[in-house]
Symmetry: C2
Subunit: 184 residues, 2 copies
């Protein structure tokens, strides 16, 4: 990887690596973490699968069981963070985002495109996270009503590139993503 | 990886994978993410390097520049989450922890063991995250006063193992880590 010297080069690298994550299973951006705040005020973080990226509008889509705790947390308050460390590009990407659930009609349309084998992830009985007496005391019951599409509207991107010289910058939606350098 | 069928097997796998992270650069647990809450109430998440693990007392150590935002956030409130996705073990580990900074005397003693080349990470001028006019308008100025050791005292461990059957369990310090199954 050659040195990244301008704000727009670094922003372009972030965008390119997210696109790579969408297209390649092995890419780091395929599995970002999503951090939320739980009902008791604790930070909560888990790995998600990147399912969509609008590189113009800076939105990222993820899928979830609608009854998972993270969906309830985000319904309470949409403030979230997304992050991935991309070793191949020597790049850390941290994003601040509002995460909302898509309208049900749009979710239903997307459900039609979820492969049969993948649908089992959406709709366990009882819901995910329910305490159970034995490990296998649950069953899949996939159905569209339990398919949630989470759309993260990115408000801030922070990038850290580790090169011969480390470089770090922050980009804000409100500022048209022009970016500014930070001490790494 | 053979199937994990008991609560203690799953807990043992988590412990073993954290130990592997301490010993092997390529292991997933080497680079957990740390989620905090920032001063404005947003979740904030970044990749850390695992520097220590007490497998009996369930504490994890990480190092940071003392002037980094995360250290200030944790001084305001110690509630944090740690997480890693270990593809090799098909295991997600999520932890809730109180993260505190070690007393300065202990930090000074640990500083002596930080290799010379690694010390440059602790003590930039100006501090990390400061806006700067150009990417290189900062310099390293390593010094022990800027070396912070963050100790995460784990309160809860949640493990998700993806096998022929997915298994998920939660373990609480208060309950002596005995664990209970959850719907995955």
């Amino acid at each position: 990887m050659s040195e990244i010297t301008t704000l727009s080069e670094l922003f372009g690298l972030v965008r390119a690596r997210i696109i790579t994550g969408l297209e390649h299973r092995e890419a780091a951006a395929r599995l970002p973490v999503l951090a939320t705040r739980d009902a008791q005020g604790w930070p909560s973080v888990r790995t998600m699968v990147l399912r969509g990226f609008d590189a113009g509008d800076w939105t990222l889509d993820m899928h979830s069981d609608a009854d998972a705790a993270k969906v309830l947390q985000l319904t309470d308050g949409p403030r979230a963070a997304l992050q991935f460390w991309d070793a191949e590009a020597a790049l850390q990407v941290r994003m601040r985002a509002h995460v909302i659930r898509l309208p049900h009609e749009e979710e239903k349309a997307l459900w039609e495109r979820v492969p049969e084998a993948a649908r089992a992830q959406y709709g366990t009985v009882p819901p995910p996270g329910t305490p159970i007496a034995s490990a296998e005391a649950w069953r899949p019951n996939p159905r569209p009503a339990r398919f949630a599409v989470l759309r993260a509207r990115v408000l801030r991107v922070e990038a850290l590139h580790l090169g011969e010289i480390h470089r770090r910058a922050r980009y804000e939606r409100e500022e048209g993503w022009q970016g500014s350098w930070l001490v790494p």
